[in-house]
């Protein structure tokens, strides 16, 4: 059986997998990291989004072996060891950006990538477009958009540029 060695949430792991094992299966079933969800399993919903070397990807549409040698961060890897939440998690809580919570891990991972890749600022429109790969069946998105806009200054350590708003 092939083995895959990668870093997950900062820890090096080596796991036996099959060729067909998906990254999300590795995370959930082999490593017990069940925070990453599977909603559609057809690359549509974004519940399975994790970071691969800092970039958001759908872990249901990637083979575990494709992640060999790379660094994966899941929702479990965001908070500090003392339990302090990542600013994006904190803003989701503050702005009531979740109801059932099923989409939330993927939303948060996708949102962090979005904010990180837009140091020039993000308009509401850009936030909505940036969430095209994430479906939410509960919130109607408004509070998710608010939470992301509120997380931007916390993550960049400065006010959102006025032009972006």
């Amino acid at each position: 059986m092939p083995q895959v060695a990668l870093t997950v949430n900062g820890k090096k792991v080596t796991v036996d997998v099959e060729g067909r094992t998906l990254l999300v299966e590795l995370l959930r079933e082999k490593l017990g990291l069940t925070g990453t969800h599977v909603g559609c399993d057809t690359s549509q919903c974004g519940a399975c989004v994790v970071h691969l070397d800092g970039t958001s990807v759908k872990s249901c549409t990637m083979l575990a072996l494709q992640a060999a040698g790379r660094s994966v961060i899941t929702i479990e890897g965001l908070a500090k060891p003392d339990g302090t939440l990542h600013p994006m998690q904190e803003m989701f809580r503050e702005h009531h950006a979740l109801q059932c919570g099923f989409c939330t891990p993927g939303m948060v991972m996708s949102a962090i990538d979005l904010v990180q890749s837009h140091p020039e600022g993000l308009s509401e429109q850009q936030i909505r477009h940036g969430l095209e790969g994430n479906l939410c069946r509960c919130t109607g998105y408004h509070n998710i958009v608010k939470a992301i806009a509120a997380a931007w200054p916390l993550m960049h350590g400065k006010a959102m540029p006025a032009a972006a708003e």
Binding site: P2, E18, G19, R20, L22, D41, T42, S43, Q44, G46, V49, L52, T55, S56, V57, K58, T61, M62, L63, L65, Q66, A68, S110, D113, L114, G130, E132, G133, N134
Partner: protein, 264 residues
């Protein structure tokens, strides 16, 4: 998914060798199309040959040509300062493919090899008169697309790069399917070394096609008015749950006019 052997060769030559030695083996690029297909058990490859280690990613601009490696992701093309400067319409097209997670993994080579009749890149490749480079030859855009999900690629042949001549002006307008973001209708308009070209994706039963009537009119006068009265026949266009052929025919005109306006 049926199980398979996973291989990640370190060069194109090794990838070609692996694919040549086993007719049941398949190339893997971003996996955004192939992995969903395998999940549905529509295909049973013995091995997947991952091209990620073969050095096929990257963008270069030289002598009026933008050359994009087959494994370059949609996100890289969309964000490339070089592409934005030389062919902004191409960067915009890449930035409108699917969602950002699809763009982070999906590649130009995978999209062209797959030749989905609703994919975006085929419209740009055909309108700009690009050249598809493979491990054994170069193929003109006009010869590359051969009907939906069908290309001139032979079994085991790999796309290595695509070369786009820089046009004088170009624009792409798509009416996306609101759920998948694939093109319900997409029209690419270009004026460049290959003349004036108008290509349509998403609509044709045989995949991407050139709109000759609009090309002739725009050749004479590159303006919205020149094509305002050109009707697109619904014959040969797709009808499905997303849109009827008549509606698609109408959208071709609307998208073409918007593209001409955007190209300036």
């Amino acid at each position: 998914m049926y199980d398979f052997t996973y291989q990640k060769p370190a060069s194109v030559a090794d990838a070609v060798k692996l694919l040549g030695a086993d007719p049941e083996a398949k190339a893997l690029a971003g996996g955004m199309t192939l992995i969903p297909v395998l999940k549905q058990r529509l295909n049973k490859p013995s091995a997947l040959v991952d091209l990620a280690g073969a050095g096929l990613a990257g963008i270069s601009v030289a002598g009026g040509t933008v050359r994009i490696g087959a494994m370059t992701t949609h996100a890289t093309v969309a964000n490339s300062a070089d592409v934005k400067k030389a062919i902004p319409a191409l960067a915009k097209l890449a930035g409108g493919i699917g969602d950002k997670e699809v763009r982070h993994r999906g590649t130009i080579g995978g999209s062209l090899a797959n030749d989905d009749p609703t994919a975006d890149y085929p419209a740009a490749v055909l309108a700009l008169g690009a050249t598809v480079e493979t491990n054994k030859r170069t193929i003109n855009a006009d010869d590359f697309f051969q009907g939906m999900f069908t290309t001139a690629l032979e079994s085991g042949e790999l796309i290595t790069a695509i070369s786009f001549p820089v046009p004088e002006k170009a624009a792409y307008m798509k009416f996306p399917n609101p759920a998948s973001r694939y093109a319900l209708v997409g029209v690419f308009v270009a004026k460049g070394p290959a003349g004036v070209r108008v290509t349509v994706t998403g609509a044709g039963q045989n995949g991407v096609f050139r709109h000759r009537a609009m090309e002739a009119a725009l050749q004479k006068s590159f303006s919205q008015a020149a094509i305002a009265d050109i009707a697109t026949p619904a014959d040969g266009l797709n009808s499905d749950i997303h849109a009827g052929a008549e509606y698609r025919a109408h959208l071709v005109g609307v998208m073409a006019r918007r593209a001409v306006a955007a190209a300036g």
